[in-house]
Amino acid sequence: MMADLAIQLVQMTLVLTLAPLLTGLVRKVKARLQRRIGPPLLQPYRDLRRLLGKEVVLAENASWLFSTAPYAIFACTWVAAALVPTFATGLMFSWSGDLIVIAALLGTARFIQALAGMDIGTAFGGIGASREVMIASLAEPAMIMIVFSVALIAGSTQLSVVAEHMLTAHVGLRVSLALALVALLIVALAENARIPADNPATHLELTMVHEAMVLEYSGRHLAMIELGVALKLLLYMSMIACIFFPPGLAGSHAAMPALVLGAAAWLAKLAVAGVALATFEMSIAKMRVFRLPNFVGGALMLGLLGVLLLFVSRGM
């Protein structure tokens, strides 16, 4: 009980403190691949500190929703991240929400984000919100289909149970899992506003999706949103790791050495995922907005195919 609580608290602190580092890593690797030196690894922390040190410049007609939204988005993302096993499955509160709930919490964050984008009443906010919900309308069902595939194999939607199942049982190579992995990678790219779905470093307004929604934010509000974005990236990487690459993950009631090993394995996985993301982003161009439905819709179809295979035969 106490151990579970300790693991839960450690995990919540770890995801919060490590999230900017992961973003820094991705940026650094991208820069190196472009033969730039790039900002230091710790730059995202400095950015956050700088933003915190500035006053908020709030648009004159902003409502209460606009200034509450950053905290709500951050809180939803953080609670969702707290439910994903990172280095150990024995989380105190893992039973309070399953994979569907995690997806829905991120959906709540997106809902609030899109509304906040429309609050000021500028054209860019509307563009961002409209495109975001268009992408989400395909990415969310794709995510649910991935959850279904995984849940049908593991017999549970509970992420810690899934991770332990993947860790211990002889799951083997399955077509449906392969489809789910590809689908999840696509969804993760789309949900985290990465290339080819969106460009996190864009400065061209007409191509922006996520950045267009947060255009009016400044100061501590923007800091909360940036932190939420970093947390979401870490969440998705941890989720992919704990479902599809669980080796190293400490089980429930694990001893100290196993926990340390789990933490080391998790950090290694994150580093690999960060480098892989940066390399992938460097090797592909951003898509036109209206090609995105094919890309994200592909994930939905792959996910659905995986679930259908599982309904036809448990062994697929």
């Binding site: 709030l58 648009a59 039973w95 399953d98 009443g121 500028t122 939607t157 509970q158 659905l304």
Partner: protein, 666 residues
């Protein structure tokens, strides 16, 4: 208890007379709506107590002489009575304030209590005649309410379509009952339940019930009347029609198919699953493109009916395969969603009514910035939008989550139709939920956020206290049922027990009030804890960040990339917000064409963007049907101008043909 319901029905009829007598006087509004609110609360209480108690029956010497009037109040009726009482109490409370703006109250006041009486009687009827009588009374009263502003040609058209579909629905129900009653004429539900129909006849009854109740509830493709009629009625009636009447229709379906028929084969379950899934997606897509707020809400009702039918279809599928746990879970999820829909859809219609009163328009392109002019209405609407978008911790998510758990329960059903349709329905439900979120971001973002697009929106004032009370009450209930789904699940236990013979495990004894549909290792959900975590971490973050950082706040003009636009016309509109989705899902129930009408060089007129959208179901099903009926009517027109001799001849011929048919049958 059942006598109390009868007394309530009688009082509704008296209120209707009082309403007719009151005419335009304000006292009529207070009396009728206040009375309706009190009576509805009474039936809420009766329904609630009926769920846990054994069924009560009553036989009155009314109606057809040799049958009489059979009434029965069991757990299923009790649940729907509770739902009806809740929805009607809220709508009546709202109407006390809303009715002050009514142009012609004398067209609403007499029919409103009659509408409620009809719905009450449907729920306690226990023979085909009473049921049919109440069903038609409900239809007719609501038709009169739809036509309360009959001078608007759109409303007249809506009333016409509604009347045709209501007649069609009544006819289908009637045919279903006739088949069930059989040659012996066992018109009581008791006799129908006892009679074991041969499979062909049972299938026929199922199809009739699906058509009859489905068209009343708004199942695609029988939904066309709903987005016309629901917005045409006054807002409190819209709330009742969308939030409650569609549930009474669901009750009709459940009563006939689950109770009287006692289960159907797997192909019937597949049919329900197909129709439910299609309804959910087609409904929400149309909602996403609607411009009229109330029409948007009506299309969204179609979507939610689809979700409920998916739950019912799953229950039928599991029951056909003798999988009792799954049937109970899916059935509970469906009824839970029905309750949720009553709560949040009524809330949203109240909000639409408040906006209509404050601004005089239902067109979202004329609105904007209402969150500052109408803060309480906006906050309640936001809660409703989150609930209907199935976002935690609101109630819409709880029922959606249960439905997903039911989908995942048993993949190894033997029939191929179900093997394919159940996961496909899972995908359709997820798609509908995501599109619903998009739809309500659009509604709330365009109508309540941003800058006002018209003078009316800029000068809107907050709604009256009756409206606010009704809205806040329902918003609170939506949150509470979302935070404590276990209470509702346990409440539905006896209903599921009575209808299916099994129920979901008791939830309120679980530690921390966690919802565990089957067993803890399969998946659990604790809304209360999650809500507490989110609220706590959000609040903590706000405090810490403000303390650690600069902490200051300055108001300045919007940044907008350095190009602040002075006019609100440059904002994203509902049409521009929906455009990407319209383009992506083109072909799913509608076909959209956008074309630019560019003047020739030298021509000084302005260029125009022409956006056209055609509804495939209307164009390919109803329009040809209308043309065919028109043709036949033209051909048969000659029959209108014959001599009395000819008519008598026809009567005689008809008699001979019927007698011949009878002779051949024997």
């Amino acid at each position: 208890m059942i006598t109390l319901v009868l007394a309530a029905i009688g009082s509704f009829c008296l209120l209707a007379i009082a309403g007719a007598a009151a005419g335009r006087a304000a006292v009529g509004r207070y009396g009728v709506y206040g009375g309706c609110a009190v009576l509805s609360l009474l039936s809420f209480g009766v329904g609630l107590s009926a769920i846990g108690n054994p069924a009560e029956t009553l036989h009155l010497p009314l109606g057809i002489p040799w049958i009489g009037m059979h009434l029965r109040l069991d757990a299923l009726s009790g649940f729907f009575l509770m739902l009806l009482g809740l929805g009607a109490a809220g709508a009546s409370l709202f109407a006390i304030g809303y009715g002050a703006h009514e142009e012609a109250p004398q067209r609403v006041l007499p029919f409103y209590p009659l509408f409620l009486a009809g719905m009450h009687l449907v729920l306690i009827a226990a023979d085909a005649f009473t049921f049919q009588f109440a069903w038609e009374a409900m239809s007719l009263a609501s038709w009169a309410l739809v036509l309360s502003q009959h001078r608007d040609p759109a409303n007249a058209h809506a009333g016409f379509v509604y009347l045709i579909m209501a007649v069609f629905s009544g006819l289908a129900m009637l045919l279903g009952f006739v088949v069930m009653a059989g040659a012996q004429g066992g018109f009581t539900f008791e006799a129908m339940r006892a009679a074991h129909l041969p499979p062909v006849l049972a299938a026929l009854v199922f199809v009739f019930a699906l058509i009859g109740a489905g068209s009343k509830a708004g199942l695609v493709p029988l939904h066309v009347w709903l987005p016309l009629a629901h917005p045409a009625a006054p807002s409190h009636v819209s709330a009742l029609m969308s939030g409650v009447m569609t549930k009474v229709a669901l009750y009709g379906f459940i009563r006939v198919v689950f109770d009287l028929l006692g289960g159907v084969p797997w192909w019937a379950a597949t049919l329900v699953l197909v129709l439910g899934g299609v309804t959910a997606v087609v409904g929400v897509l149309q909602a996403l493109l609607a411009r009229d707020i109330k029409q948007l809400l009506a299309f969204s009702t179609v979507e939610n009916i689809g979700i409920i039918f998916v739950g019912l279809g799953l229950a039928l599928a599991f029951r056909a395969n003798g999988f009792a746990t799954g049937a109970a879970l899916a059935f509970t999820a469906a009824l839970f969603h029905a309750l949720n829909h009553t709560l949040f859809k009524s809330l949203l219609f109240f909000g639409a009514g408040a906006v209509l009163n404050a601004t005089g328009t239902r067109d979202m392109e004329q609105l904007g910035g209402l969150i500052k002019r109408m803060p309480v209405v906006s906050a309640a609407m936001l809660a409703g939008c989150m609930a209907i978008s199935a976002l935690p911790p609101m109630n819409g998510f709880a029922s959606e989550w249960l439905t997903f758990q039911a989908v995942l329960l048993r993949p190894e059903l033997p029939q191929w139709g179900l093997k394919l349709m159940i996961p496909a329905d899972g995908a359709l439900l997820a798609l509908a939920a995501a599109l619903a979120a998009a739809c309500f971001v659009r509604l709330f973002g365009v109508a309540f956020l941003g800058r006002p697009r018209s003078v009316m929106a800029a000068e809107a004032v907050e709604a009256d206290r009756w409206t606010l009370a009704a809205m806040l009450g329902f918003a609170g209930l939506s949150l509470l049922t979302g935070l404590f789904p276990g209470v509702v699940i346990d409440l539905l236990g006896p209903v599921s027990q009575a209808v299916l013979g099994t129920r979901m495990p008791v939830q309120m004894t679980d530690p921390w009030l966690t919802t565990i549909p089957v067993e803890a290792s399969r998946g659990s959900y604790n809304a209360l804890l999650l809500f507490a975590f989110v609220a706590l971490s959000g609040g903590l973050a706000a405090v810490v960040v403000k303390r650690l950082g600069h902490g200051g706040l300055r108001r300045a003009p919007a940044w907008d990339c350095g190009f602040p636009d002075p006019t609100p016309m440059t904002q994203y509109t509902g049409a521009s917000f929906g455009q990407p989705i319209k383009r992506v899902y083109d072909g799913l129930g509608y076909v959209a064409h956008d074309r630019v009408d560019m003047p020739a060089p030298g021509d000084t007129r302005s260029a125009r963007l022409i956006s056209e959208r055609s509804d495939l179901i209307w164009d390919y099903l109803y329009a040809p049907l209308g043309v065919a009926v028109g043709r036949i009517a033209t051909i048969l027109n000659v029959l209108q101008f014959l001599t009395i001799r000819r008519y008598l001849g026809f009567v005689f011929a008809a008699l001979v043909v019927l007698l011949l048919a009878l002779a051949l049958w024997q």
